[in-house]
């Protein structure tokens, strides 16, 4: 299917916060109560529409454990958006956000849009991190913020789509250099001035270019 733009996303955060479940809910509209542990990276894709334009989201879901961060880091660089996820019922996943954010900022391009996500709002009775705390953290670090539930699908669409909107606005403002694939944005085949099928020779120099 043709698209105007392709945005590359990464999903990061501690083990077990629901990264893979958010992806599954967004791409397949289903919930798996216990998901297999993610080893390495998992992939998902979906088409959305913004401003009447078809946008393809290519999403890389990463493993949570420190040992895999060397692998994870190579995905950061070519990403236009990041979903930084914590679990509202586990405070440690919230306190680790600073490390994740430092890591993401250090290894990605500076314009990457980061959405902070407090997941598992269906477990309200076990909530351990207040919504206000999430909001404050996001404000302090210049992130967009949302609370979601991969189980009930609450706000899941919005989280992915609002991130895309933000990226789209940045493109309109000319903040992103869309000709540089290392920014995680690719112009769709029908919009591209050059032949879409000729793989660019420079693809190898930035990790995880991933054509589509």
């Amino acid at each position: 299917m043709s698209y105007a733009y392709l945005f590359k996303y990464i999903i990061i955060g501690d083990t077990g916060v629901g990264k893979s479940c958010l992806l599954l809910q967004f791409t397949d509209k289903r919930f798996q109560p216990v998901h297999d542990l993610t080893i390495g990276v998992e992939f998902g894709a979906r088409m959305i529409t913004i401003d009447g334009k078809q946008i393809k989201l290519q999403i890389w879901d990463t493993a949570g454990q420190e040992s895999f961060r060397s692998i994870t880091r190579s995905y950061y660089r070519g990403a236009a958006g990041a979903l930084l996820v914590y679990d509202i019922t586990r405070r440690d996943t919230f306190t680790h956000l600073t490390t994740w954010l430092e890591d993401a900022r250090q290894h990605s391009n500076s314009n990457m849009v980061i959405m902070l996500i407090g997941n598992k709002t269906d477990l309200e009775s076990r909530r351990d991190v207040k919504k206000e705390e999430g909001e404050a953290f996001a404000r302090e670090h210049g992130l967009i913020f949302m609370e979601t539930s991969a189980k009930t699908a609450a706000n899941v669409e919005e989280a992915f789509i609002n991130t895309a909107k933000e990226i789209y606005e940045k493109i309109q403002e000319g903040v992103f250099d869309i000709n540089n694939e290392a920014n995680g944005i690719k112009i769709g085949p029908q919009h591209s001035p050059s032949s879409p099928h000729a793989p660019s020779g420079s693809l190898g120099q930035q990790a995880g270019g991933g054509c589509c």
Binding site: G40, F43, I71, D128, C212
Partner: protein, 347 residues
């Protein structure tokens, strides 16, 4: 190989014995170990703290420093083993043979208690009119999955103990995600053995086989060795080279579509395919794998066979569909995959 294949099929019903034969190089040692095994387990949670040491002691030799470090490892293991093999439900069930030393010991700090204490919890502090402070835990329940009552243990708790002891005995490696997916099938084979004599000793037997297997594949879990001759990077490269040789069309597709081997074969190879197939098929694959004298060369052949069996789809699809296909490998008759792998091995 024909002999190995038939042997593998023949012993499928006595999986535990087979696994032990394949993964035990030192059979005599194994027998003495098994008798000692029972004493070995269950004592993992205990710590002796002398008067000189205290929890805030910053000395790296401090037992408390080690204790807190161990707790980090334990909490990580705990998160992972609770979600082990969600499709079969076996690991959530109670074991018939819980470790008596652990479940009956009131005074001992079990792993359960240790995990519970190690999880960071927030409390709300409020000052009342008299100026006194009240602490209120904001949580109603601390765990996501219910634990079995005292005196019982779920299979995942046994696996947790195995991984924790392994991590303690191998501090350089400790625990890396994915090891849980290796111990999973091993423990399952022993614990579900119809011979009571085998299932009773599942914990020590699984530990023993896991340790032996890990000695062969531990490099896959050490990130600094990723690019070494024995590391996972080299295995992925071998797979891609073999693919190029056997099917240049698919080989060059991988390059043009930028389907990097680490996107799919990292998991295939690191976990010995344990996440790609349902449990019975995983056991069947492992039978052939462990029966082969060149186990990990054969693993590459199996991965290659998997790629060749879906070649027509791969050549038709775009990048996204191919990624999904490779990460969610379609259901096949597992014997088809294995016989293709044997054919490739001979070629």
């Amino acid at each position: 190989m024909a002999f190995q294949m038939s042997l593998a099929v023949y012993v499928h019903s006595v999986g535990s014995l087979f696994l032990t034969i394949c993964l035990s190089l030192l059979v005599n040692f194994y027998h003495s170990w098994r008798s000692k095994g029972k004493q070995h387990f269950g004592k993992s949670g205990k710590i002796d703290v002398t008067f000189e040491d205290h929890p805030l002691n910053p000395n790296p030799d401090s037992q408390w420093v080690a204790y807190f470090k161990d707790n980090d490892v334990l909490v990580q293991i705990d998160k992972d083993v609770r979600r082990l093999c969600p499709d079969i439900g076996f690991f959530q069930r109670a074991t018939e043979f819980p470790c008596q030393d652990v479940v009956n010991a009131a005074e001992m700090e079990t792993l359960r208690k240790r995990v519970d204490c190690s999880v960071l919890q927030s409390h709300t502090v409020m000052k009342n009119r008299q100026g006194a402070y009240n602490w209120k835990s904001s949580k109603k329940s601390t765990v996501e999955y219910d634990l079995l009552p005292d005196g019982k243990e779920a299979h995942w708790e046994v696996v947790e103990r195995i991984l924790f002891i392994y991590a303690k005995l191998n501090p350089g490696l400790a625990y890396v995600q994915g090891m849980n997916e290796i111990i999973g099938p091993i423990y399952y084979i022993f614990a579900s053995d119809s011979e009571r004599e085998w299932s009773e000793h599942a914990e020590c037997d699984a530990f023993f086989c896991f340790t032996n297997l890990m000695s062969e594949i531990r490099d896959n879990f050490i990130k600094s060795l990723d690019d070494s001759a024995h590391g996972i990077g080299n295995m992925m490269m071998q797979l891609m080279n073999r693919l190029q040789l056997h099917d240049p069309d698919v080989g060059s597709l991988m390059v043009t579509q930028d389907l990097k081997p680490q996107y799919f074969s990292f998991r295939w190879l690191t976990l010995l395919l344990s996440q790609e197939f349902p449990m019975p098929d995983v056991i069947r694959v492992w039978d052939s794998l462990f029966a082969d004298s060149k186990r990990f060369d054969f693993l590459i052949d199996v991965c290659l066979a998997m790629l060749l069996l879906i070649r027509d789809d791969l050549l038709k699809n775009d990048f996204s569909s191919n990624m999904k296909l490779l990460q969610r490998y379609p259901v096949f008759d597992i014997h088809l995959v294995l016989s293709e792998a044997v054919r490739l091995q001979k070629s």
